[in-house]
């Protein structure tokens, strides 16, 4: 998993709790890296699982809810760090359609070893957007948080419903966005 997810996760925990809470979470998780991450590095996904579990345990929050909130935070970081991907796009559905064809393509150019989820667009109209999330990591809640962040960025509202199509070995979740 890319280091930026870890570093942003730490920012997210710091913002919502405290730097001390973060440090305790790291120590509690007993991750091998001892919480030493850089945005451009690549680290084992299992450390994210351990960190997440530690936060849930210490905070008593629901893991899915935590991931959705982290997704919202992550989208905010993304729009600040990569404004070029928003140029010429004025709605959330059009932006979501570019994730697979532009953003992931560019990430692969910079980090050929990156393991990215895939988004298959099933339907794309003015008021409805249907996509299938596929990943071996099963971070559907994080994806939902990112989608919500996107809608919020463009000032749009839509009901987001999801349906899990498969979980093993690949998680497949259908997201339906209806305005």
């Amino acid at each position: 998993m890319k280091g930026v997810i870890f570093t942003e996760f730490f920012s997210f925990i710091e913002e919502n709790h405290s730097i001390e809470f973060l440090q305790e979470t790291i120590e509690h998780s007993q991750v091998e890296s001892e919480g030493v991450y850089t945005a451009t590095g690549t680290y084992p996904f299992c450390e994210m699982g351990a960190l997440l579990g530690s936060v849930v345990e210490k905070s008593g929050k629901d893991a899915s809810e935590l991931l959705k909130l982290f997704g919202l935070h992550l989208f905010g970081h993304f729009k600040n760090s990569s404004p070029n991907y928003f140029v010429g796009i004025d709605n959330a559905f059009d932006f979501l359609a570019t994730v697979e064809t532009q953003i992931h393509v560019d990430v692969k150019k910079l980090y050929p070893d990156a393991e990215l989820p895939s988004f298959d667009i099933v339907e794309h109209t003015l008021d409805k957007f249907v996509m299938i999330y596929k990943s071996s990591r099963g971070l559907g809640a994080l994806c939902e948080g990112l989608i919500a962040g996107c809608m919020e960025h463009f000032g749009e509202t839509a009901t987001i419903s999801s349906r899990t199509l498969a979980t093993d070995p690949i998680t497949k979740i259908e997201f339906i966005l209806q305005k």
Binding site: I19, E20, Q23, E24, I26, E27, E34, G35, V36, Y37, T38, A39, T40, G41
Partner: protein
């Protein structure tokens, strides 16, 4: 308090290690970037070199290399194409391919994917005449919207050679036909010679016999005059005289004499012509022979006279004191025949009422000169360098083999060390001047001559 200090220390340590990790990654990425940059520079240089090589290959190609879109418009053209069609790159791009190869679009439309050959098509340059091309190429998805790549080979020279070869073949066939006719003529001349010989002899006999008959008639006339007063023979004399008067015997004898004399003169002409034909058709000796050039020319005039009837007046202007010339007689005769026939043909082409062919001779201390002139249309300046080339002729098929002047030049220049050239002569449009060196009699021949006379 101590516990919080430990946390902050741990945080500080983690941040420090994170910074160190970031610096390590930065170094690593910098190194990767440097190596990738070098690889990119190397690839760029290789691509540039490859591009230069490709450009050099296409530019130096003798063929026009053109790519064509699925809309049958030109997408690219190499330098050869630009030069051949007189268009620069911007003028060629996006024009319909039919603009430079009329009719090509239809042929391309009929193609299936893969390699193809197209013949019988012409390229049309901005300036100059259309030129024939043979096209080889490939149809299919070549590159982006390029559907066809065309290699157009200019076959102008090839077509010209084909035409020339065909013409030479026709001329060789014509030469063979004429050779066969020549062989046949030699046989006919040989066969005619014998009957002509005895016809001449018989006419000689008839002339002698007629002279005797005439003498006998004269004796009778004298007798009739002597016995004319004798009444005993009046009846018989009257019968003979009446018959003689009736048949006009005296005049008849005179007419017969004249007819036979004319016949003998005519048959002598025929015999002379047959002898000339035999001589002309005979391969002849390659030894030099003493030759009376004026006499040789008169023979040629006799042979060619028939061809000049109704076409040209053939006149001679001889230097009568011209000495005998040592030459290969058969060759010189053939050269003069060729030139005289050409002169008659030239006059016939001009179709003038008073066309003239003139043959003049002269000599100096070292050379004998023969000039054959005509009042035809003349030879255009641009052709004067070509007329001595083998197989060059301006005559229609069946009239010339293109060998006459080439052979003449060979005989005069190479066999006799003389010269054959076109000169200006007042009153004539074309004059061929032959100059032959007056060779001294060979010492060996003098010795042979002396030995022959020795006792």
């Amino acid at each position: 308090m101590t516990e919080r200090i430990e946390i902050y220390k741990a945080i500080a340590l983690r941040e420090k290690r994170s910074r160190q990790e970031a610096e390590r990654l930065l170094d690593q990425k910098s190194l990767e970037l440097y190596e990738k940059s070098n690889a990119v520079i190397k690839s760029r240089d290789e691509l540039s070199e490859l591009n230069s090589l490709l450009l050099s290959i296409t530019s130096s190609s003798p063929d026009s290399i053109i790519t064509v879109s699925s809309e049958y418009r030109i997408r690219s053209a190499n330098r050869t194409a630009e030069q051949r069609f007189g268009l620069d790159e911007s003028q060629m791009l996006d024009i319909p391919v039919d603009d430079i190869f009329p009719g090509l679009t239809g042929k391309l439309q009929a193609l299936e994917a893969g390699r193809f050959n197209i013949e019988n098509i012409y390229g049309v340059p901005t300036f100059g005449e259309p030129f024939p091309v043979e096209i080889r190429g490939r149809a299919g998805d070549i590159y982006q919207d390029v559907e066809y790549v065309i290699f157009a080979h200019d076959v102008t020279a090839k077509k010209q050679i084909e035409i020339k070869t065909k013409r030479i073949e026709q001329q060789v066939n014509e030469a063979r036909r004429l050779e066969a006719i020549g062989t046949l003529s030699a046989g006919i001349a040989h066969e005619i010679n014998t009957p002509i010989q005895f016809i001449g002899d018989n006419l000689g006999f008839l002339i002698e016999a007629l002279a005797k008959i005439s003498s006998s008639y004269q004796l009778y006339a004298n007798l009739a005059k002597t016995v004319g007063a004798d009444t005993n023979y009046q009846r018989e004399l009257a019968a003979v005289n009446d018959f003689n008067k009736q048949i006009n015997l005296k005049t008849m004898i005179k007419d017969i004499e004249e007819s036979v004399m004319e016949s003998r003169a005519g048959i002598k002409d025929v015999r002379d012509i047959v002898l000339l034909m035999k001589e002309f058709s005979h391969p002849g000796t390659l030894d030099d022979q003493p030759t009376d050039i004026n006499k040789l020319i008169l023979g040629v005039v006799k042979i060619c006279g028939g061809r000049a009837i109704g076409v040209a007046r053939v006149v001679t202007d001889f230097e009568l004191t011209i000495p005998e010339l040592l030459c290969k007689r058969g060759q010189i005769q053939q050269v003069i025949i060729n030139l005289v026939i050409n002169a008659i043909d030239a006059v016939e082409e001009a179709a003038t009422a008073d066309g003239t062919v003139s043959i003049a001779t002269s000599f100096t201390d070292t050379r004998v000169c023969i000039e054959i002139s005509d009042t035809g249309r003349g030879i255009p300046g641009e052709l004067q360098d070509k007329i001595f080339d083998p197989f060059f002729t301006t005559k229609p098929m069946g009239r010339g083999t293109g060998q006459g002047l080439a052979l003449a030049k060979n005989f005069i220049v190479n066999s006799h060390h003389g010269s054959l050239e076109i000169v200006k002569r007042e009153g004539f449009s074309t004059t061929f001047r032959i100059e032959l060196p007056r060779q001294p009699i060979q010492p060996l021949k003098l010795k042979e001559k002396y030995n022959d006379r020795a006792p």
